[in-house]
């Protein structure tokens, strides 16, 4: 929970925050990106994070009251429907972080909202109770069946889409999940909005590290920056199978050296 009055006011679901780690003179130069979980205007913003490597381990050690250096809000938030249509929100692991804010935003607009939370196992699930508070229906899946339905979020997604006659599916989580959600949504003629997670050096659009192949309105594939043109992308526009490659038909491919 980070106190940041000015910033909180302007946060929308899908925005992320870039957090400096390691302290001054520390060996870590780059900020860590986290989806904004909750923003209380004129007060604070909250994130949910998993202790992963050096930076998040440092964050875990910080005590309440310690000052944290952040840049936010960053990125393009989720696009919201104009009509009060049915929506399904799909989250994998800490991918649930932005979903509660999104859900209540959608409810405000009169949308019917279902949330699907998936994880490898129960301990990796985040925000189940919170979800139940905001969504009409919440379905939980775990790979090992330790909680909810045994299986993947995409196993239960089709029914959810049908139940809500969803026009929009929102997803945040690991790439394979996003890919699956995007295709399932397409099959059911629902727009999908996927928040991707590419490693980022700057988070503000100046370094070009966070790119992935995305098809533009002109049908041309470009390596697009997920920090400023994302992290939320239309699921039908991302070339999921080609992530971490340069598709040969990408503008400016093939590559020749240089850095």
């Amino acid at each position: 929970k980070l106190e940041a009055p000015e910033i909180a006011a302007s946060v929308e679901p899908g925005h992320f925050v870039a957090v400096a780690v390691g302290g001054v003179g520390g060996g870590m130069l780059l900020r860590r990106a986290f989806s904004i979980h909750r923003a209380t205007p004129n007060e604070s913003i909250e994130v949910i994070f998993a202790s992963h490597g050096q930076g998040t381990q440092w964050l875990v050690q910080q005590k309440p009251g310690d000052v944290i250096d952040i840049v936010a809000p960053l990125g393009k938030p989720f696009a919201l429907p104009r009509q009060p249509v049915g929506c399904v929100l799909v989250a994998g692991g800490y991918g649930s972080a932005p979903m509660m804010m999104l859900a209540s935003e959608l409810k405000k607009r009169g949308c019917q909202v279902e949330i699907i939370l998936g994880a490898a196992t129960e301990s990796k699930l985040f925000g189940v109770l919170e979800s139940k508070a905001v969504a009409d229906v919440v379905t939980v899946t775990t790979d090992d069946g330790s909680s909810g339905v045994r299986g993947l979020v995409t196993d239960v997604l089709p029914d959810a889409i049908k139940r809500t006659n969803a026009k929009a599916v929102y997803a945040c989580g690991p790439m394979p999940m996003l890919k699956a959600v995007a295709s399932v949504s397409k099959e059911h003629d629902a727009y999908s909005q996927c928040a991707v997670e590419e490693s980022m050096a700057c988070g503000i659009g100046v370094c070009m590290t966070c790119v992935l192949p995305v098809i533009g309105d002109d049908g041309v594939t470009r390596m697009v920056r997920s920090c400023v043109e994302g992290p939320v992308f239309r699921g039908d526009r991302v070339r999921w199978d080609d992530v971490d490659t340069i598709p040969s038909d990408t503008l400016g491919a093939p590559v020749v050296g240089g850095h």
Partner: protein
């Protein structure tokens, strides 16, 4: 007492001592929300090539101790789009702009110079010779005195206006003074140094190099001592050659090390990723560092650590 921080790179006078580093500020626009670009010495744009270029596959970066590795692969929209969109924006906003160019072969550098020479709003040219020469088995131009000189003399011939040509040097050489003298003979107006060091990080879970491009360029405070040494050596050999110094500058204290070693101005690169307002902050800190040491003008401190 406030210190006079104006300086110059050959015929280009700079209103401030700090510039962005090529590839670390795109074409400036994204940084505008963090400060007034007109108060910077200059915006040095991401190296632009003749044609659009997709760059290398991801992952493109790895964090390293006090540094980072990148293999962007010179992703860019190509010169035409750059002129229409990026340079136009910079010109409209009266930003002192140094355009960085890169080519796959000597001719491409020449073409780019020819295209740019009559374009208004260009304060100077930074020739990024720290990229592979496709026509000599991908050897980096800046790693060979002859190719380096060839690129510069070709650009020199095309470049019919008096704004300075800077050669961007690579530290991955046995003798950087040798490279510097070859570009000086080829008629360069100044040098930018240093570019990144070739490095690698291995992903032990995938058991292969972490970066899509396998190797990448090491930057950040980790390489600062190498950069200061390089600037010091080149300034010692060519005391009158303007130097745009860079490599791991994080504070005004760091910046003054480069000035004292012989740089006339500095570029801030990797540190911008962690602190987007660094180019402005560092300029202020540099002013204070100079003031506490009794300097009235930044230019009096250039090369002060020699003798």
């Amino acid at each position: 007492m406030s210190v006079d921080l104006t300086t110059s790179l050959g015929s280009l006078s700079l209103s401030g001592p700090t510039a962005t580093a090529s590839g670390c500020a795109a074409a400036g626009k994204e940084l505008a929300q963090f400060g007034d670009l007109r108060t910077l010495g200059a915006v040095v744009t991401k190296s632009i090539m003749k044609n659009a270029r997709s760059g290398r596959a991801t992952p493109r970066m790895a964090e390293t101790p006090s540094g980072m590795l990148n293999s962007i692969g010179l992703q860019g929209p190509g010169i035409e789009s750059f002129l229409e969109k990026d340079l136009a924006w910079l010109r409209e906003n009266n930003v002192t702009t140094i355009v960085s160019i890169a080519g796959n072969n000597v001719d491409e550098f020449g073409e780019l110079a020819r295209i740019l020479k009559d374009v208004p709003g260009i304060g100077g040219l930074e020739v990024n010779i720290s990229c592979p020469n496709v026509e000599s088995r991908g050897q980096v131009f800046a790693c060979n005195p002859y190719s380096a000189a060839e690129v510069i003399s070709t650009v020199r011939q095309e470049w019919t206006n008096e704004s300075p040509i800077l050669a961007k040097l690579s530290p991955d050489v046995t003798d950087i003074v040798e490279i510097a003298s070859s570009v000086v003979e080829a008629g360069v107006d100044g040098v930018s140094m240093i570019n990144t060091l070739l490095g690698m990080v291995i992903d032990l879970d995938k058991m292969k190099p972490m970066l899509g491009g396998r190797t990448g360029g090491l930057s950040g405070p980790a390489i600062r001592p190498v950069a200061v040494r390089a600037v010091y050596q080149v300034h010692a050999a060519f005391p009158h050659l303007p130097i745009l110094g860079m490599g791991g500058i994080r504070t005004g204290h760091d910046a003054l090390e480069f000035i004292a070693a012989g740089a006339s101005a500095v570029s801030i690169g990797t540190v911008v990723f962690g602190d987007p307002s660094a180019p402005w902050r560092i300029a202020n800190e540099l002013g204070q560092e100079l003031a506490t040491r009794g300097y009235e003008k930044l230019t009096d401190a250039i090369g002060a650590a020699h003798v």
